[in-house]
Subunit: 276 residues, 2 copies
């Protein structure tokens, strides 16, 4: 009997954590576990205590007819520290420097093993803003934006670099890249379901912030409101960006010769208890 | 005491399932749970039995100095069926049809809630091929490719539509799109760490298969070998594709008037016990 309860607790833990952020109804859970709701409630209390005591996440209960329980995973500090260290170590690999002075990082940006944890961190940073969508402009910020969207349980809005026939009519914006002073453009399909929403804009890299500001303007034309900006790497110069506020995971201080220094930002170091 | 064991089982279940596919050492687990390895082994057996009996996944043990345990989640059939149904329902929304006869689906392709489960399904389909990388060509196949890569615990390789200065020297290929007979191109940075690897190519859409074949050729120039092709939607015509084998999640049979019919492929219907 005790063995049976123990197995049930294992299965309940797995079911609750399987789709983090999604509400599960008590009826559904008691059916799957084949127990009465009163027994299930006792089990839920034990699972809640065990997970919360270990800092592994929280279980919220919603009462009423549409009630149920929702698991909210905690940021896994150790895993995030591992990803931060791995990313920084990879960046300093001399083979990554191209003859034109760019850094080849596409493989890192498309590594779920590195980016998923960093996206979860960004999602946590912006959770209180109650965003409806995460937006990015193609292409290299997509994995980080998707990981943030997943953490926030919302969908992603893709801003295209040019207008695609396959997306129907679009709104486009041309803008000056804040750093290189080149004309760039981005567009969004009129059918994109973003109207009136609160949007988190995510990108891989920010220098002057021209792209983030253009995204803000374009999304504004859809009646959407950019309430937060999160990037993987921001350069320390220019200090004054074209957007008011942003959160970068890494700060990059360039030097005259070579790469300069890349380190986690203050909020990241505090959040995951980073020791240098 | 029993209460203590029960809580420990909850925490152990969460720790094991937190990073699916990653090996956890027994030393690390016994430290985190603050128990002797003998006790841990008993706990692991119970967790393994409970999860496997409910079809929630498997726990593999690796012996030896670098030993440990690895959790391999099972495909959640119910969740996948939900995603398949949601995707098909959304497709038939008349607002999605553009005046030029295209279907606006970008928002669906960038919805983690829909695509993650379908990527896991594709990953499972190709698990036995032991791939080293998942590749896609930008842009709309990226979320599905990332989800497949996550399920297979590998990184993604991004084929670009045009050559980017920021990626250093690249190899490019021009090809005729099999359906529209337009010249298309794709390129891959020489620095992409794909040499000699086994690659799963993933894309959102396949008609004649020209893109998949070009990716095969380009990756071949890197000494990489495309061992599988997976797509979200394949058209039933032309029946003869430019690649020998592929697995589509959906088959789309077009009709003269309107959308025609989209339904899950045979292997998908069998895998998730789909009932029409």
């Amino acid at each position: 009997m005790s063995d049976q309860r123990q197995k049930r607790l294992v299965v309940l833990t797995r079911l609750l954590t399987l789709e983090a952020g999604r509400q599960m109804s008590l009826t559904e859970l008691s059916r799957k576990l084949n127990v009465a709701k009163s027994t299930l409630s006792e089990d839920l209390l034990l699972v809640k205590d065990a997970l919360e005591e270990m800092g592994l996440g929280e279980i919220d209960s919603q009462v009423g007819a549409s009630g149920g329980v929702t698991f909210r995973p905690a940021i896994n500090h150790e895993a995030v520290r591992e990803r931060l260290a791995l990313f920084m170590k990879e960046l300093t690999n001399a083979d990554r420097l191209t003859p034109d002075g760019f850094l080849y990082v596409t493989d890192l940006l498309f590594s779920p093993r590195i980016i998923d944890g960093l996206g979860a961190l960004l999602g946590e940073r912006f959770r209180s803003l109650k965003v409806d969508h995460v937006a990015t402009v193609e292409t290299r910020g997509i994995p980080l934006a998707l990981a943030s969207a997943r953490a926030l349980m919302v969908d992603m809005v893709l801003l295209r670099r040019d207008h695609r026939l396959s997306e129907g009519s679009s709104l486009s914006i041309n803008y000056l890249s804040g750093s290189s002073r080149h004309v760039q453009s981005m567009s969004l399909a009129r059918r994109a379901p973003v109207r009136g929403g609160r949007v988190l804009f995510v990108d891989d890299f920010m220098q002057a912030g021209g792209t983030a500001r253009a995204a803000q303007d374009l999304l504004g034309d859809f009646g959407a409101h950019v309430v937060g900006v999160g990037v993987l790497v921001a350069t320390s110069q220019p200090q004054q960006k074209l957007v008011d506020e942003y959160s970068a995971i890494f700060e990059w201080t360039r030097s005259e010769e070579g790469m300069g220094e890349v380190r986690p930002s203050g909020w990241v170091r505090r959040t995951v208890k980073w020791e240098e």
